[in-house]
């Protein structure tokens, strides 16, 4: 019996690789397994190798695995590119149609040539080869074919009973073929039974979009871009029910400025993009900071620079997000680490944006935004809407004609009362020019300092109140190594930690969830207690490493493990790299 396994389906883009993975994983999720799926895809519509790697486990996990147990191949290229990942004794289910062969020098694996296309064609359409491959997989895992019925019904019942039955038959035939070949289920692939609990299965972008609806976001101007588009696509389907809408703008500058207009007008408005879009938005983010207009912006980081690797994993926008825009504004950069956090953090982002009247950037990475994971059901009672000092829908004290509402009143916490257009005694002017308390342009040096200090002061308050800016996992006492990450790498370092601990290394982990203002107080004690700090990040220049050094010092013991080939880290890669650093560093206890 095994508690987890890794399954991958590969072929040409456009031939249903995604849906094969989808059907397989939804079915497993409904059985109560924990899933994590990561798609390898290209920036083109059809053609090009694509694969969907899915991990199934009886315990929560959120990283792709080092090894592969089962590979489903719709073409020889899939075998050639991926077979090396298979563990000893792993299985390839290949379409017999292309006469699959094993590459030379491969570890011992079992190749099952299954007439996937042939069976599908007998049933009416070659498209159903996906279903046949799912049946073939379930024969190896010993999962009853009927376990797939409800997902097949969900997907095809609107096309009629017949289509459902055809697809079920395709699964059954695939199952029967492999069952006969192997003489029954293979014991080394027998998965422990799942707990049967109902959980959700979604990508980070789904959670962000759902979080936005729950947060009361009712308007989203946005421009399509990988890997952010799912957010706008979800909201255009759902917002009309709540009276809101999505506008596909002419560019990202229009998206951010329209979002600023929406928030100024009193509606919780967001936009979402990736690096290239964020670059275009920078001037307007400065306007939001200067005019103290709340706005929520999602940056789903992908491979840069320029067009870079648009469909690949990277965490290289951090400097741009923190330091981008000219001049100095209060800005918040959040970095959720799981799909669950994407949901709750998005709600919090809207609250922070209004409470502190600042732009809030939610930074994810491609693996978090598009990686599909099992998540525990969301807690409705945790949804909170806090609008801070917004005075809307209430009577304001009467004003004379030439009086102006003190929209930029200097206050202790830096946050001023805010009104929205339409309110009788709330008239005020808003400008990106330096202004006085009523929003009138002013070049007075005293006023400049008062307003600048007022704006920047807001972050001091926020830094004290931000919920769980760093998640720490590990011993409270001294550790040999502290692994620091953001976004999706938390799951990878969690597994790497387990591997290091098997070697007797004392490991603690810190997942930084607030990149700006940097949570110095929260992370410093762990840095101090660690003999070595290793920042694991998906970029070439160590942006988080530098951020950490800048904020907490201890530069002499902080090192980086970097990967920027477009792929997420594997746990074993982190393990090996970290071990190398420890060995050559100051931790002497390790003997190997």
């Amino acid at each position: 019996m095994i508690s987890q396994l890794s399954w991958k389906v590969g072929g040409q883009q456009g031939e249903g690789i995604e849906s094969t993975g989808e059907i397989f994983s939804i079915a497993m999720n409904r059985m109560g397994y924990f899933l994590y799926g990561y798609r390898h895809f290209s920036s083109r519509i059809k053609g090009g190798h694509t694969n969907n790697k899915i991990r199934v486990s009886t315990k929560p996990l959120r990283a792709i695995s080092d090894v592969l147990d089962i590979l489903v191949a719709f073409d020889q290229e899939t075998i050639d590119l991926n077979a090396h990942e298979l563990r000893d004794g792993g299985v390839i289910i290949a379409d017999a149609k292309f006469n699959p062969t094993l590459p030379e020098g491969l570890q011992p694996v079992r190749l099952l040539a299954v007439p996937l296309t042939e069976i599908a064609e007998e049933l009416g359409t070659s498209l159903m080869k996906n279903m046949v491959s799912i049946g073939a997989t379930s024969a190896i895992l010993g999962i009853p074919v009927e376990g797939f019925r409800n997902i097949v019904e969900d997907m095809f019942l609107r096309k009629g009973e017949k289509v459902v039955e055809k697809n079920m038959e395709a699964i059954t035939r695939g199952f029967a073929f492999v069952n006969e070949q192997t003489g029954g289920q293979l014991p080394e692939f027998q998965l422990e039974k799942a707990d049967g609990t109902k959980r959700l299965f979604m990508i980070g972008n789904d959670a962000i979009a759902l979080g936005a609806v729950a947060a009361g976001c009712r308007f989203m101007p946005a421009y399509p871009i990988t890997p952010a588009s799912e957010i706008m696509e979800y909201l255009i389907k759902k917002l009309p029910k709540f009276g809101g809408t999505v506008i596909q703008t002419e560019d990202e500058i229009a998206a951010i400025t329209m979002a600023i207009g929406g928030n100024y007008g009193g509606v919780r408005t967001m936009t979402a993009s990736a690096g290239p879009g964020l670059a275009l938005m920078m001037e307007a983010i400065g306007l939001a900071g200067m005019t103290e207009t709340p706005v929520v912006i999602v940056d789903t980081q992908r491979g840069g620079p320029s067009t870079g690797l648009p469909t690949k994993q990277e965490q290289s926008d951090i400097n741009a997000l923190i330091y981008g825009t000219h001049g100095e504004i209060p800005k918040v950069v959040m970095a959720p680490t799981t799909v669950e956090e994407c949901f709750y953090d998005t709600i919090e982002a809207f609250n922070i944006a209004e409470e502190y009247q600042v732009p809030v950037i939610i930074a994810t990475d491609l693996a978090l935004s598009l990686g599909k994971a099992t998540v525990e059901p969301f807690d409705y009672s945790k949804i909170q809407i806090r609008r801070g000092k917004l005075l809307a829908g209430q009577e304001l004290p009467e004003m004379e004609q030439n009086d102006q509402f003190k929209r930029y009143e200097v206050t202790e916490d830096g946050v001023s009362p805010r009104t929205i257009p339409g309110q009788k005694y709330g008239l005020h002017h808003v400008t990106g020019v330096e202004h006085d308390q009523t929003g009138r342009p002013s070049e007075s040096p005293t006023n400049r300092i008062a307003q600048m200090d007022k704006r920047l002061r807001k972050l001091d308050v926020l830094a004290k109140n931000f919920p769980n800016p760093v998640l720490v996992d590990g011993p409270a006492e001294e550790s040999d190594v502290l692994l620091v990450t953001i976004n999706s790498l938390g799951g990878t370092t969690e597994e790497a930690k387990g591997l290091l601990e098997q070697d007797g290394v004392k490991v603690s982990r810190a997942q930084v969830r607030l990149l700006h203002p940097f949570p110095v107080e929260q992370i410093l004690p762990y840095v101090e207690k660690a003999r070595k700090v290793v920042v694991v990040e998906n970029n070439a220049t160590g942006q988080i490493t530098n951020l950490l050094k800048l904020n907490v010092g201890h530069a002499d013991k902080i090192e980086s493990v970097l990967k920027y080939d477009g792929n997420p880290f594997l746990p074993n890669e982190v393990y090996t790299e970290v071990k190398g650093l420890i060995k050559h560093g100051d931790v002497q206890r390790i003997s190997q």
């Binding site: 009276g243 207009g261 007008g265 307007a284 008239l427 808003v430 400008t431």
Partner: protein, 288 residues
């Protein structure tokens, strides 16, 4: 009901004496009063440049944004609260150079807002460089040998982009301009009003007198029909883009807001932000 005086504030504009923008400011104030607005129900969103300062000189809600982006900000405000009257304004550099993309797409989108361009055919605030509205051969600090680019016609661009309201006026004609702004505010959909608003400091060619001499009012054209798009285009071309008055209006098309699925008449800003547990669980169930 508010009079035009209630749209005045005590701020002295930083425009040069004699600047065409004073007339535009007065015309907006008069038109706002004439159509029965209250200051709190008007939002003027402006760009950057001398003319961009206008949002601070009218007693209403005003936002002075960034260069070239008055229109998307204005559209965001309109979506947030369609009960507001939203006027976007700025100069020819703002609308036809850096912000041209937004101008064309705002016209296509056809939201119910009025866009007033103060067109002085030069960059004034940066002290005299060429604009997309400067004529070929026009000498400025950035075109010392005369501009070698063609000037564009806002009217013809708007017509070809599918505008539902295109008007042109001049700072010489306060009454006519006020009337056009009123019509623009009342128009369902996007209204573009390009105003020849002379820069008395840096443009010594396109002066008040020059415009008096060159502009051709549609009122002077016998049988002019502002509902005929092809003829509007043709007359504009025949008159070197110097046609004034209500050049084109399409009253058959609905505004963007009216076409958005599920979009209520009441301003979105007034909507309840909370989601019921039942609605929430329904959304969540799609991921189970």
């Amino acid at each position: 009901m508010a009079t035009f005086k209630e749209f005045r504030n005590n701020i002295k504009p930083n425009w040069c004496p004699g600047c065409g923008d004073f007339s535009v400011q007065a015309a907006i104030q008069r038109a706002a009063a004439n159509v029965g607005l209250e200051p709190e129900n008007l939002a003027v969103i402006s760009g950057i440049g001398c003319s961009g300062r206008i949002s601070g000189y009218i007693n209403c809600y005003g936002l002075h944004g960034i260069h070239g982006r008055a229109l998307p900000i204005a559209q965001g405000v309109k979506m947030a609260n369609r009960e507001l009257t939203v006027i976007a304004s700025g100069g020819d550099g703002d609308g036809f150079a850096i912000g041209m993309g937004h101008t064309v797409h705002s016209i296509r989108r056809n939201m119910n807002i009025t866009y007033i361009v103060m067109d002085n055919q030069i960059y004034g605030l940066t002290k005299g460089q060429t604009s997309p509205r400067s004529a070929a051969g026009f000498v400025t600090k950035s075109t010392p040998s005369g501009s070698i680019e063609q000037s564009l016609s806002p009217v013809e661009v708007a017509l070809s982009a599918g505008a539902t309201f295109v008007a042109q006026s001049s700072s010489n004609d306060l009454k006519g301009l006020t009337d056009l702004i009123e019509k623009g505010i009342k128009h369902e959909g996007f209204s573009l009003i390009n105003v020849f608003s002379p820069c008395v400091t840096f443009n010594k060619v396109n002066t008040y007198d020059w415009f008096k001499e060159h502009i051709v009012s549609v009122d002077s054209i016998e049988g002019y029909d502002p509902h005929d798009r092809i003829k509007a285009m043709s007359y504009s071309m025949q008159n070197n883009g110097l046609l004034t008055g209500l050049i084109y209006q399409d009253t058959t098309r609905k505004s963007y807001e009216a076409l958005v699925q599920g979009f209520k008449e009441e301003g979105l800003a007034k909507a309840d932000l909370t989601i019921s547990e039942e609605d929430f669980q329904k959304l969540v169930a799609e991921f189970a």
